[in-house]
C-alpha cells in the first residue's frame, strides 16, 4: 500500500488543476512542483527503508475470481520509480519558465500530473491489471500532451497519429492480460514468469511484444515518435525520451526470462537493431533540433531492445538509466536554445548558446555523454552493449551505430555553434529564466554523477555485473571520438551545412515505412468502401420485401376498379372456389 501513496501528491495536484480556475497566477505550476517534490521525498524514503515485497489490493471480484491491483517495492521497480520521481520535479520547474503564456499552465500541469501519476503507477505495478491502467494512462496523456498546441495542425495530426498506433498496443496488452488470466487465474508478473512454456503463454507474450513495439516506437511502429516532437519541449523531454517510451523496454527487461524461454529474444534483437539503424540514419540528415534528438531516442530504444535481445540484463539497465539523464538534458537544452532564438527549430538558423553559457556547457556535457566519451555516464551503456555482443556481426553493427552517434550528435552541436559567428542570422536573443537553467544544471550533474550507477546498481538490484576491461573502454572511446572527428572536420572546420544526399542513401528509410502505412491505410479504405457498398445492398435487401408487397398491392388494385359488376362477379367466383374446395375434400 505504501507504494501507492507516491501517487497521492500528484493526483491531488491534478485535481487542484481541474478545480482551480483562476488563470492569472502561476498557482497550478507551483502546486505541481511541490507535489512532485513531495513524491520524490517519499520515493527516497521508500528506496532507503522499505523492504522488497508485493502487496495486492482487491479491486473487484466476479464469480469467485478476485481482480486485484498489485504493487511492488522490488528494487528494480524502485529504480524506475526513482528515475521518474527525480525527473518529474525538474520538468515541472523547467515548464514554469518555458510557458510564458500563463493561461496554458492549468491545462498543461493537469495533463502533466496525470502523466506523472500514470508513470509512477506503471513503475510500481506488479501485475498486468495495475500495469495496464498505467499503460493506457500513458497513452492518452501522451496523446493530450503531443497535441497540447493543437492550434498547429501538425500537432493535432501528430497526436492523432501517435494515439492510433498506441491504441493497437493498448488492445494487444488487454488481450494478453485476458489470455494470461484465463490460463493461470492470475496476472501477477512473478507467477507468470514462473510458468512453464505453453500455448497461451506464447500467444500472450507475442501480444505483449506487439504492445511494447508500439509504445516504445520500435519498427514497424516507429513513425509516431519523431512526429511527437510537435509537443512542447518539456513534454518531449519527459515523455518521449526519458520515461514513457521506455515503459515498454522496462517491461521487456522484467520478462527477459520468459522471453528467453519462449525463444522470442532473437526477434527482439532484430527489431531493435532495425530501429536503431533507422534512428541513426535519420538523425544524420535531420535539421529540426528536436527531431534529431527524437531519432536519437529511437536509436537508444533500439539499442535497449538489442541489449534485451542479447539477454544482457545489466547492459540494458545501464543504458536505460543513463539514457534518462542525458536525453532529458539534451531536450531541455534544445528547448532553451530554440526558445531563446524565438521558437526557431531549424539547426541551420540557430545560435548555439541561447545567450547563456550554462546552456552551452550543459549541452556539451550531454553531447559528450550520448556520444559515449569515457568519463560521462553515457559511455556505460555503449560499452556494456559492446561487451555483451554475441557475434562479430552484432559487434560491427554496434560499432557502426556508435560512430554514427558520435557523428550526428556533434553535427547537432556544431552547426549552431558555427551559426553564432555568421552574419546572416541577426536578432536579439531572449534571456532564459533561472527556472529553466536550474533543471539543466542539475541534470548535467546527474549525467556526470551517473557513472556511479555502475558500482552500486548490481548489488542493489541483485544482478550480475559486467566486467569491463580497460581495452574495451579505450576501444569504445576511440570509436566515439572517430565519429566526433568526422563531424568536426565536416561541420566545424568545413563549410558544409547540409549532408549530401548521395552519401546517405538510407537516410529516408522512414519514408519506406510511411509508404507501407499508406498502402495499409489504402487497403483498409478499400475494405471500408466495399463494406459501404454491401451496407447499401443489405439496406436494399430489406426494402425488396417492401417493394414486393407494394408490387403485389398494385396488381391487386386492378381488382377494385369501381365497377360493381366485377364485384358481383367476384362474389360468385369466391363462392364457386369455396364450393370446389369443399367438393374435392368431401
Amino acid at each position: 500500500m505504501m507504494e501507492l501513496f507516491v501517487l497521492v501528491p500528484v493526483l491531488l495536484a491534478f485535481l487542484f488543476c481541474l478545480i482551480f480556475r483562476d488563470k492569472r497566477i502561476r498557482s497550478t505550476g507551483y502546486v505541481s512542483v511541490i507535489a512532485s517534490l513531495a513524491s520524490l521525498a517519499m520515493v527516497i524514503y521508500m528506496a532507503l527503508f522499505l523492504q522488497q515485497g508485493t502487496q495486492s489490493i482487491d479491486w473487484f471480484s466476479v464469480g469467485g475470481y478476485v481482480f486485484s491491483l498489485q504493487v511492488t517495492s522490488a528494487h528494480i521497480n524502485m529504480m524506475l520509480l526513482f528515475l521518474v520521481a527525480l525527473i518529474s520535479p525538474l520538468i515541472m520547474i523547467y515548464s514554469l519558465g518555458f510557458f510564458e503564456d500563463v493561461s496554458e499552465h492549468r491545462r498543461f500541469y493537469a495533463e502533466m500530473n496525470l502523466f506523472a501519476a500514470s508513470m509512477m503507477l506503471f513503475s510500481i505495478s506488479a501485475n498486468f491489471l495495475s500495469m495496464i491502467i498505467a499503460w493506457e494512462g500513458l497513452g492518452i496523456t501522451s496523446y493530450l500532451l503531443i497535441g497540447f498546441w493543437y492550434a498547429k495542425s501538425e500537432a493535432a495530426r501528430a497526436a492523432r497519429e501517435s494515439i492510433s498506433i498506441i491504441i493497437i498496443g493498448d488492445v494487444a496488452m488487454l488481450a494478453a492480460l485476458i489470455i494470461l488470466f484465463n490460463a493461470y487465474g492470475t496476472t501477477s508478473f512473478y507467477s507468470i514468469s514462473a510458468q512453464p512454456i505453453s500455448y497461451p503463454l506464447y500467444a500472450a507474450f507475442l501480444l505483449v511484444v506487439l504492445a511494447v513495439l508500439t509504445k516504445s516506437a520500435q519498427f514497424p511502429f516507429s513513425g509516431w515518435l519523431p512526429k511527437a516532437m510537435e509537443g512542447p519541449t518539456p513534454v518531449s523531454a519527459f515523455l518521449h525520451s526519458s520515461t514513457m517510451v521506455k515503459a515498454g523496454v522496462f517491461l521487456l527487461i522484467l520478462f527477459i526470462p520468459v522471453l528467453l524461454k519462449l525463444g522470442l529474444l532473437p526477434v527482439i534483437l532484430l527489431l531493435g537493431a532495425i530501429t536503431a539503424g533507422i534512428g541513426v540514419l535519420n538523425a544524420l540528415s535531420g535539421k529540426h533540433i528536436k527531431r534529431i534528438l527524437a531519432y536519437s531516442t529511437l536509436e537508444d530504444l533500439g539499442l535497449m531492445l538489442v541489449a534485451v535481445g542479447l539477454n544482457a540484463v545489466f547492459a540494458a539497465i545501464l543504458l536505460f538509466v543513463t539514457q534518462t539523464f542525458y536525453k532529458a538534458l539534451l531536450f531541455l537544452d534544445a528547448g532553451s536554445i530554440s526558445r531563446a532564438n524565438g521558437e526557431e527549430y531549424d539547426i541551420t538558423k540557430l545560435r548555439e548558446s541561447g545567450g547563456n553559457r550554462l546552456i552551452f556547457i550543459t549541452a556539451v556535457i550531454g553531447v559528450l555523454s550520448i556520444a559515449g566519451i569515457f568519463p560521462f555516464s553515457g559511455f556505460l551503456g555503449k560499452v556494456g552493449l559492446e561487451v555483451s555482443a554475441n557475434s562479430i556481426y552484432t559487434y560491427i553493427f554496434l560499432v557502426l551505430v556508435e560512430i554514427g552517434t558520435g557523428f550526428y550528435i556533434f553535427r547537432w552541436l556544431f552547426i549552431p555553434m558555427k551559426n553564432s559567428g555568421r552574419m546572416e542570422i541577426k536578432g536579439k536573443l531572449k534571456s532564459t529564466p533561472v527556472s529553466m537553467i536550474l533543471p539543466q544544471v542539475l541534470l548535467a550533474l546527474f549525467v556526470i554523477g551517473g557513472i556511479s550507477v555502475y558500482f552500486f546498481l548490481p548489488s542493489y538490484l541483485g544482478i550480475k555485473s559486467l566486467s569491463l576491461s580497460y581495452l574495451r573502454v579505450i576501444a569504445e572511446t576511440i570509436f566515439a571520438i572517430a565519429g566526433t572527428l568526422v563531424a568536426y572536420y565536416i561541420y566545424r572546420r568545413g563549410q558544409t551545412v547540409k549532408v549530401s544526399k548521395g552519401l546517405f542513401v538510407f537516410v529516408h528509410s522512414i519514408d519506406g515505412i510511411n509508404w507501407f502505412y499508406l498502402k495499409f491505410a489504402a487497403f483498409i479504405e478499400a475494405i471500408s468502401k466495399f463494406l459501404g457498398f454491401l451496407d447499401y445492398f443489405v439496406y436494399m435487401l430489406f426494402y425488396l420485401f417492401g417493394f414486393l408487397s407494394l408490387w403485389v398491392g398494385k396488381r391487386l388494385r386492378n381488382l377494385v376498379n369501381g365497377n360493381v359488376n366485377m364485384y358481383a362477379a367476384w362474389i360468385a367466383i369466391g363462392f364457386a372456389l369455396i364450393l370446389l374446395a369443399l367438393v374435392f375434400r368431401i
Binding site: E136, I140, Y150, I167, V171, I524, L531, V538, G546
Partner: protein, 467 residues
C-alpha cells in the same frame, strides 16, 4: 419493495403533468421528475448493495386469465440498467434539447421513454417486457419523426418498420414460450426453471424468432440498416436515448434469452461468429463517414457487437461483462451523442468536412467529446474498460483465441474517432465561427455522464456487488 412501481408511476404521472403544464415550465418539471426517479434508483442501489439479496416485488394481478401479474425484479440486471436509463434520461433532459423547441413533447417523450426503459429492465414477466418494449419503441419513434431533423421523415419510417418487425417476432416468440411451457407462464423466473421441458424444435423456433428481434434492436449486422439514419436524424435527446438505452433493450433481451433457453448454448458458437462479423463490419463501415452522428452510431454498433460477444460466452464473466457493457457503453455513447448534438447546435453542422476547430470556442463540448472517445475505447478507469475485460475473459474462456478477435475492432473505432477529433475539434488553424453562442446549459449533463462513467470505472462494486 415497491420502488420500481413507484418510479414508473411517478414518471408516467410526470408525462401527464408535463403535457398539462405550461410550455416554459415543462423542462424544469421533467428534470424534477427524472431526478426523483434517479434518486429512487440510487436509494435502491444502496439498499440492495447492503442487503445483497435479489428480491421480487409483490405481484399485482393484471390479466388473470393469462396469469399475468405486474411484477418487478430488483436484481443484478434491473438496478444497474435502471440507473443507466435514469442517468441518460436526466442528462438528455438537461442538455438534449438545445433548440428549446417543442419542449413539452420533448420532455414528455423523454419521461415516457424512461418509464418504459425502467419497466422493461425490471419486468418480471415477458408480457410486461413486451409492453414496455413497444412503448419505448414508439416513444423513440417520435423522437425521430416529430423532434428530429434532416431526412427524419424517411428514417423514422425505416426505424418503425424494423422495430415493429422486431416486436412482431418478439410477440410470437413470447407466445410460443408461454404455450409450450409445461405450466403455462410468462414469468421469467418460472421460464428459467421450466424451459428445459419445452420441446427442442419449439426452443429452436423461439430462439430464432427472439434472436432476430433482439438483433434488430441492438443492432447487429444484417439487421442494422435502420440504425445510421435513425441515429443521425433523431433529435439530440433522441440519439442519446436510442443509442444509449433503447439499443440495450435488445441486449438485455438477448441476455435473458440466453439465461432462459437451454438450447441457446448450442447456438452460442454461431452467435460469436455473428458478433465478430458485426463488430468489424460496423468498424469498417464507420470509416468514410463524415457525419459525426453516423460515426458515433457505428461506434455504438461495434459496442453492441461486443455485448453480443459477451452474451454468447455463457457464464458468469460473459453475463456480468454484458451487463457492465450495457451500462458503460450506454453512458459513453450518450455522452458522444450529446456532445455531437451540442456541436451541431452551436456550429450548425455535424460533418467533419465542414467543422473546424470546435475547441477554440466550445472547450467543454470538445473535451466532453474527447472523454466520450476515451469511454468508447475502454481506457482504464472508465466503465468500458471493465466491460471489455470481463466480456473478453468470458469469450476467451468459451471460444479460445477466436473469442478475442472482436476486441481488435476497438482499434479501428478509436483510430477513426481520434481522426475526427483531430480534424474537426482540435485543429484550430481554420477555426470556424459559431452559428449560435453557447449557453453552456449542457455542462451539467456532461458532468453527470462523465461522473457516472468514472464512478463505475473506479468502483465496479456498484454493478458487480449483487452476489
Amino acid at each position: 419493495m415497491m420502488y420500481f412501481l413507484v418510479m414508473i408511476a411517478l414518471l408516467l404521472a410526470g408525462v401527464l403533468i408535463v403535457s398539462a403544464s405550461d410550455r416554459k415550465l415543462s423542462r424544469q418539471v421533467g428534470i424534477l421528475f427524472s431526478s426523483i426517479a434517479l434518486a429512487i434508483a440510487l436509494v435502491m442501489l444502496v439498499e440492495y448493495l447492503h442487503g445483497g439479496t435479489v428480491t421480487y416485488s409483490e405481484a399485482i394481478p393484471y390479466i388473470s386469465s393469462f396469469g399475468i401479474y405486474i411484477q418487478f425484479y430488483a436484481n443484478q440486471f434491473s438496478i444497474p440498467l435502471s440507473l443507466l436509463a435514469g442517468i441518460v434520461t436526466l442528462a438528455a433532459l438537461i442538455g438534449g434539447n438545445p433548440m428549446r423547441e417543442k419542449e413539452k413533447a420533448t420532455t414528455a417523450l423523454a419521461l415516457l421513454f424512461e418509464a418504459s426503459a425502467i419497466g422493461l429492465f425490471a419486468s418480471g414477466n415477458l408480457f410486461l417486457f413486451f409492453i414496455f418494449w413497444d412503448v419505448g419503441v414508439i416513444a423513440a419513434f417520435f423522437m425521430i419523426s416529430y423532434l428530429g431533423s434532416g431526412n427524419n421523415h424517411a428514417s423514422s419510417k425505416t426505424y418503425l418498420f424494423y422495430s415493429i418487425l422486431a416486436s412482431a417476432l418478439l410477440l410470437f416468440g413470447i407466445l410460443l414460450i408461454y404455450f409450450y411451457m409445461p405450466v403455462r407462464s410468462f414469468s421469467i423466473q418460472a421460464i428459467e426453471a421450466g424451459s428445459a421441458l419445452i420441446p427442442p424444435s419449439i426452443q429452436t423456433a423461439v430462439f430464432a424468432l427472439l434472436f432476430v428481434a433482439f438483433m434488430i434492436k441492438m443492432p447487429v449486422f444484417p439487421f442494422h440498416s435502420w440504425m445510421q439514419s435513425a441515429y443521425s436524424d433523431a433529435s439530440t435527446q433522441g440519439s442519446m436515448l436510442i443509442g444509449g438505452v433503447l439499443s440495450k433493450f435488445g441486449a438485455y433481451g438477448l441476455l435473458l434469452l440466453f439465461l432462459m433457453l437451454p438450447i441457446a448454448k448450442v447456438y452460442a458458437p454461431y452467435v460469436i461468429i455473428i458478433a465478430i462479423i458485426s463488430a468489424f463490419y460496423a468498424a469498417f463501415n464507420m470509416l468514410k463517414k463524415d457525419d459525426m452522428k453516423r460515426m458515433v452510431a457505428y461506434a455504438s454498433m461495434v459496442e453492441s457487437a461486443l455485448i453480443l460477444a459477451g452474451i454468447s460466452a455463457i457464464g458468469i464473466f460473459g453475463e456480468e461483462g454484458a451487463i457492465y457493457g450495457m451500462v458503460a457503453y450506454g453512458l459513453g455513447i450518450a455522452l458522444l451523442f450529446l456532445s455531437v448534438g451540442s456541436i451541431e447546435f452551436m456550429f450548425g453542422s455535424k460533418s467533419t468536412k465542414v467543422l473546424r476547430g470546435v475547441v477554440r470556442d466550445a472547450a467543454s463540448t470538445a473535451y466532453a467529446f474527447l472523454f466520450g472517445i476515451f469511454a468508447a475505447t475502454g481506457v482504464p478507469l472508465t466503465g468500458a474498460f471493465i466491460a471489455d475485460l470481463l466480456i473478453f475473459i468470458g469469450t476467451e474462456r468459451s471460444f479460445g483465441l477466436v473469442g478475442l478477435i472482436p476486441l481488435f475492432s476497438i482499434v479501428i473505432v478509436g483510430a477513426y474517432l481520434y481522426y475526427a477529433a483531430e480534424i474537426s475539434i482540435f485543429d484550430t488553424k481554420k477555426g470556424m465561427d459559431m452559428v449560435r453562442y453557447e449557453s453552456g446549459h449542457w455542462n451539467p449533463a456532461y458532468a453527470l455522464l462523465v461522473f457516472a462513467i468514472i464512478a463505475i470505472g473506479l468502483v465496479p462494486y456498484f454493478i458487480l456487488g449483487f452476489r
